[in-house]
């Protein structure tokens, strides 16, 4: 079954995906064109364009065909014909919810955070960032993807560098250079991939689907190319030990920057690993899976332990991201339907809960002008509703069942258990550590008797509550009823695994079904994938 099966054919009157990229871009330009005397107009334009984008992403969700594994709403136009570069956008179950998350998160971040100065360029950069992120999630052309992937860096650099906190220049530079070095490798990878593929395709093409379907790389070549991509994504995820730019960037970024960085930007890495790593080079992905599984599990523990010892609340949340993203990578390289679906779900869940955590930490900073845990105390007594909101989001991050964080994490772990047993056994201890670092932080910040500086801490305001409400709604809904999400993710995850099985000969052991109709069919339970890492090439 081809991933393209249902793609291409569908022609839509309205190019919704192109619009998803262009509307925020137009919004960015329009924001800049507004007069300096009317800041409220500037804000209105920005909010309007982000809300329109969000609305379109919801419309996309509503009209997405459930059960279809291929790319939908495909928009394909020639662009630079002689080089085989095209404007090729499409969405499938893997990217759908990331697009929706982007669409929903940006307006909330724009409305919910205050830059305090130079609002006009700030809003323009954010909208440009949205266009870049949307483009990255939708691109099905390697060059197009690379362009969007790189564009994202520029607004983020300026957001951190201009609207960040005291160490912002150091953090912004580090963020930019670190990811840039990864991207440079990827550019080499992209060009080489296209050139090598041209032998088999008969022409130079950067089209992802075309290359994936038509080209088959020799094992060693595929592995080199895979690593060129994978390192760029590993930096972005960030995978241990390439993660140290993240705490700096998060801590120094303005609140909206942190929310977006954690919410969607990090997912460019995990999404890239799935879409361009595993999909394009299944053999190499299978071959190197133990490296990634190991780094993922180290990341889970390392991030959690480092988070425990942080004294800065924002840094703590940043390190918790390292741990959470480790789960996603673990799921990706376990190569089972449950694990990959869980990983995709976890990308969204982490975006929601960590995004909300950064918003809350931002609100604390706005009130107290400190992020130091030691300077905060007893906030639950003076602001019980604020504390309750923090509690719900925190429990989601800890992975308490009934809330969204659990679903993704659980599916990743249970799905990975059959193909990556010992990694799961160790990685799952991360859930103990998650409770430790978050509850300890909560105790120090919210429990106890507030001292003088904290006793005037302001309770959650209505506007702030309205911003948090969608987050909490999603946290509860996705935890109680994740089926609509899973139904849409699963076919694409399955199709990807069919490809991995065909190309790399890797398959998860069949599951015995003792509970279903009778007990006799427990036959072929152990033809396993244990060590057959597709080396037959």
């Amino acid at each position: 079954m081809s991933l393209l099966a249902a793609g291409g054919g569908e022609v839509l009157s309205f190019p919704i995906l192109t619009a998803l990229v262009l509307v925020p871009l137009i919004g960015a330009v329009a924001t800049l064109l507004t007069g300096a005397r009317r800041p409220e107009v500037t804000k209105l334009v920005a909010v309007f364009s982000s809300v329109v984008t969000g609305g379109m992403s919801l419309w996309l969700l509503a009209s997405f065909e459930t059960g279809d594994a291929g790319f939908q709403f495909v928009s394909k136009h020639e662009w630079i014909q002689s080089w085989g570069i095209g404007w090729h956008l499409g969405v499938d179950g893997i990217s759908l919810f990331l697009v929706v998350l982007t669409g929903v998160l940006f307006p909330l971040a724009i409305v919910g955070c205050d830059p305090h100065h130079d609002e006009k360029p700030y809003l323009a950069w954010i909208l440009m960032l949205e266009a870049g992120v949307m483009g990255s999630f939708l691109s099905l052309d390697l060059v197009l993807f690379f362009l969007f992937f790189e564009i994202v860096l520029v607004p983020m650099y300026f957001l951190i560098g201009r609207w960040g906190y005291d160490q912002r220049v150091y953090a912004a530079t580090k963020f930019f250079l670190y990811t840039m070095i990864g991207s440079a490798l990827m550019l080499v990878g992209i060009v080489t991939t296209a050139l090598l593929a041209s032998d088999q395709l008969g022409r130079v093409s950067f089209d992802l689907v075309e290359i994936a379907e038509g080209a088959n790389f020799a094992a060693s070549t595929g592995r080199w190319l895979f690593f060129a991509f994978a390192i760029a994504f590993a930096v972005k995820v960030p995978l241990f030990p390439l993660h140290t730019w993240l705490p700096d960037a998060h801590t120094q970024a303005p609140t909206a920057g942190s929310v977006i960085l954690a919410g969607v930007l990090l997912k460019l890495g995990t999404y890239g690993l799935v879409r361009f790593g595993v999909y394009l080079f299944p053999e190499a992905a299978v071959w190197s899976r133990e490296i990634f599984l190991t780094l993922a599990v180290i990341g889970i523990l390392w991030g959690a332990i480092a988070a425990t010892m942080q004294t800065d609340l924002k840094r703590l949340v940043a390190y918790s991201s390292v741990a959470h993203l480790g789960f996603i990578v673990l799921g990706t390289f376990a190569f089972t339907t449950e694990a990959i679906s869980g990983g995709v779900m976890q990308m969204v869940n982490h975006g929601v809960s960590t995004g909300a955590l950064f918003l809350l930490v931002g609100m604390i900073y706005e009130r107290r002008h400190t992020r130091q845990i030691a300077e905060l105390k007893g906030l639950q007594k003076v602001a019980p509703i604020f504390a309750a909101a923090f509690m719900v989001v925190m429990l989601s991050s800890i992975g308490v069942p009934g809330l969204n964080g659990f679903v993704g994490e659980f599916l990743v772990l249970i799905g990975s258990f059959s193909t990556a047993r010992w990694w799961v056994v160790i990685g799952a201890t991360g859930v103990i550590l998650a409770a430790l670092y978050l509850l300890w932080a909560y105790q120090r910040v919210f429990h106890g008797e507030p001292d003088e500086a904290n006793s005037s801490f302001r309770e959650l305001r209505l506007r702030e509550g309205m911003i948090l409400l969608p987050f909490i709604g999603l946290i509860v809904f996705c935890g109680v009823y994740p089926k609509p999400m899973l139904d849409r993710i699963e076919p694409s995850a399955k199709a990807l695994l069919v490809r991995v099985e065909e190309r790399a000969g890797f398959s998860a052991p069949d599951v015995i079904h003792a509970g279903d109709d009778g007990s006799d069919d427990h036959g072929s339970g152990d033809h396993g994938a244990d060590d057959s890492h597709g080396e037959e090439g």
């Binding site: 480092a306 010892m309 772990l413 258990f417 008797e449 089926k483 599951v511 003792a514 427990h522």
Partner: protein, 637 residues
């Protein structure tokens, strides 16, 4: 009636939602009444389901109600579904029944607390979670409840969160339980791998049919036991329960005595076929851990001076008895003791709450004494509870404890002797508590100033809402043993009722020496209980023997403090080392590379002097070097 099973958890959930939205508006006592009514309604529905099941034939007493598909992906199909069968309904009955009584009690106990409605909000959420736990059709729904009760327990232990010790105790409970939860997760993964499902019927069926191999079953059983040891406070994870007494006393009664802490026993009973096909040493290990915990905690209880701490260690000890039963294959006895324990331990906790209430929040037994005249209802009901836990016939605890020890003897006389020793200690320390609190001389007058009372300090009896639950529970503690009497097969009501659930795993002890001589064992049990009481009376009432309360026991064999020291010392250092390594090694390497590039750039820049002579010289040297290299290469080759 069976189709209404969803109502059982739905009512407390509704109560929670009402209090969430309107709790402050309702205020005291309305929010408490709403919460209590929700749980009482839930009890009524459960009772209806119970009679419905009872009217059916034995193997028709199982009903699954699927609400919706929860996590369907790949080969994993998990429904949000409830299972109504003898085990789950037994659990639901005493959870909702005792829950309703404790809600009622709490209306009186929490009187005047500024967070009155919030307390009932949490309490309803707890009952909802607990019902999800026991009614779950599969491991994952149970796990939802499992973590839910853990979370509520965290909220309620640290309910008075401005107190540092309460906040710390809540966190400790949650994190320690998470260690156990890791085990439950592993068990789920293993079960899913081996049986392809998480539903209890599927897993148990697979075990009975031999689809789950012995080694996998052993692994599943032990992983679940790790979870059970966390939730049910067994060695080595019991440390959170004594600290959990920081919570309000109704919480201690409901969560940390009657219901939540028994979840581990319930879970092991649920999957008894898996334990049955596991290697023999697995249940034996469970029995050993159980009896060791029972004995260990009983020795600590002997030297406690806090009225609630005695009961906390006693709970740990009694839970150990239940695991001794599970490990001995005596699942009916385990559930039997779980139910009777819920009656008398809830009674004892509520009684101690009444004492604390009447003593103006004094918990030190050394400052009590002679309270029986001032708090007659509390005293009488507490004495009933004491006789029940001490194992004096015909009170409830005697029968259930005796049943456990009977099976333990059949498994190994060593287990029996150890269990009997724990029973002796139980009678001893409970008698000590009763004497210190209700008899002897009044010691509270000397301390009236500390207690914040002006002038005449006089303990008083509690209001009627607090006394009604005490009386009801005292009644149940008296007659509770009637559900399973040893004299004749016809009197084994509980066994017959639970039979379809435990028939595969229940040990058959017919023909063993213990079974043939059960009346001898019964006699020994009575003698031991009376001996424990007599000894305690001699020490604490008659003062004929000096009390032995070594500091070692008062401090719980230094177990907890050793762990704390380890966590605060080497544990913390190790964590710090990781944080340090992240800063200096991982990030240091990154910044190091940055610096190298920077300085290399700086050095290279100096080469660009702009003087042609320098360039020429450089080219010249390079040419020579190249020539030398080519020459050497040629020679070598």
């Amino acid at each position: 009636m069976l189709d209404l099973i969803w109502l059982v958890p739905a009512l407390p959930l509704a109560g929670f939602l009402v209090n969430l939205l309107f709790g402050r508006l309702l205020g005291e006592p309305k929010s408490g009444i709403v919460a209590a009514l929700a749980v009482a309604g839930s009890f009524a529905v459960t009772a209806g389901i119970f009679f419905d099941l009872l009217s059916r034939s034995e193997h028709d007493r199982s009903h699954v109600d699927v609400l919706f598909s929860w996590m369907p992906v790949g080969s994993l199909k998990v429904d949000l579904a409830f299972l109504a069968d003898p085990l789950s309904i037994t659990m639901a009955l005493f959870v909702t029944g005792i829950g309703a009584l404790i809600h009622l009690y709490a209306i009186g106990y929490m009187h005047g607390d500024p967070k009155f409605s919030k307390f009932f909000l949490y309490l309803n959420l707890f009952v909802f979670s607990m019902l999800m736990l026991v009614l779950g059709e599969n491991l994952l729904v149970t796990f939802l409840g499992w973590e839910g009760v853990g979370t509520c327990s965290y909220f309620l232990i640290s309910f008075w969160h401005t107190r540092e010790s309460a906040a710390t105790a809540g966190k400790k409970a949650f994190v320690t339980n998470r260690v156990g939860d890791w085990g439950v997760m592993m068990a789920m993964f293993l079960a899913f791998g081996a049986a392809g499902t998480l539903s209890y019927s599927g897993i148990n069926h697979a075990a009975e049919e031999g689809i789950i191999s012995g080694v996998t079953a052993t692994a599943i059983g032990l992983m679940l036991f790790i979870g059970a040891a966390g939730k049910s406070a067994q060695l080595p994870l019991y440390i959170w329960l004594p600290d959990a007494m920081e919570g309000p006393t109704p919480v201690s009664a409901l969560i940390h005595a009657a219901t939540m802490v028994t979840a581990g026993v319930f879970l092991m009973t649920r999957v008894n076929p898996v334990l049955e096909v596991a290697y023999d040493w697995a249940p034996t290990l469970i029995a050993i851990v159980g009896v060791a915990t029972a004995l260990f905690a009983a020795t600590i209880a002997v030297a406690q001076t806090d009225i609630k701490k005695v009961l906390a260690y006693s709970t740990v000890s009694q839970l150990g008895f239940m695991f001794l039963a599970v490990g001995s294959g005596a699942y009916v006895a385990a559930i039997f003791h779980m139910v009777t324990h819920a009656f008398f331990k809830a009674l004892l906790f509520l009684g101690s709450g009444s004492v604390i209430h009447g003593m103006h929040h004094e918990q030190d037994m050394r400052k009590m004494g002679a309270l029986r005249a001032l708090m007659p209802v509390t005293a009488i009901t507490f004495i009933v509870g004491w006789l029940a836990i001490a194992g004096v016939p015909p009170f409830a605890g005697f029968w259930s404890k005796d049943e456990i020890l009977l099976f333990a003897f059949a498994k190994s006389p060593v287990l029996y002797v150890a269990g009997m020793a724990a029973a002796l200690l139980t009678a001893y320390y409970m008698t000590r508590q009763v004497i210190m609190v209700f008899f002897g001389e009044a010691r509270w007058n000397d301390h009236s100033e500390e207690n914040g009372a002006h002038g005449d300090f006089k303990p008083h009896e509690s209001p009627i809402v607090m006394l009604i639950p005490l009386v009801v529970l005292a009644g149940l503690s008296m007659v509770g043993g009637a559900m399973q009497l040893p004299f004749s097969k016809d009197l084994h009501f509980l066994e017959k009722w639970l039979h379809p659930v435990v028939e595969f795993g229940e040990a058959d002890i017919k023909g063993t020496w213990a079974y043939d001589n059960k009346y001898v064992l019964l006699g020994i049990a009575i003698v031991v209980a009376l001996a424990g009481i007599a000894l305690s009376v001699a020490v604490y009432a008659k003062k004929k023997i000096a009390a032995v309360e070594p500091v070692l026991l008062a401090n719980g064999w230094h177990y907890d403090s050793t762990i704390s020291r380890f966590m605060g010392g080497p544990g913390r250092k190790a964590f710090d080392a990781v944080a340090w390594a992240d800063r200096t090694i991982v990030d240091g390497a990154v910044n190091g590379v940055g610096r190298v590039v920077q300085s290399a750039g700086g050095t290279l820049r100096r080469g660009q002097t702009g003087a042609v002579r320098n360039y020429a010289a450089f080219i010249g040297v390079a040419v020579v070097a190249l020539l030398v290299w080519f020459f050497l290469r040629g020679v070598v080759l």
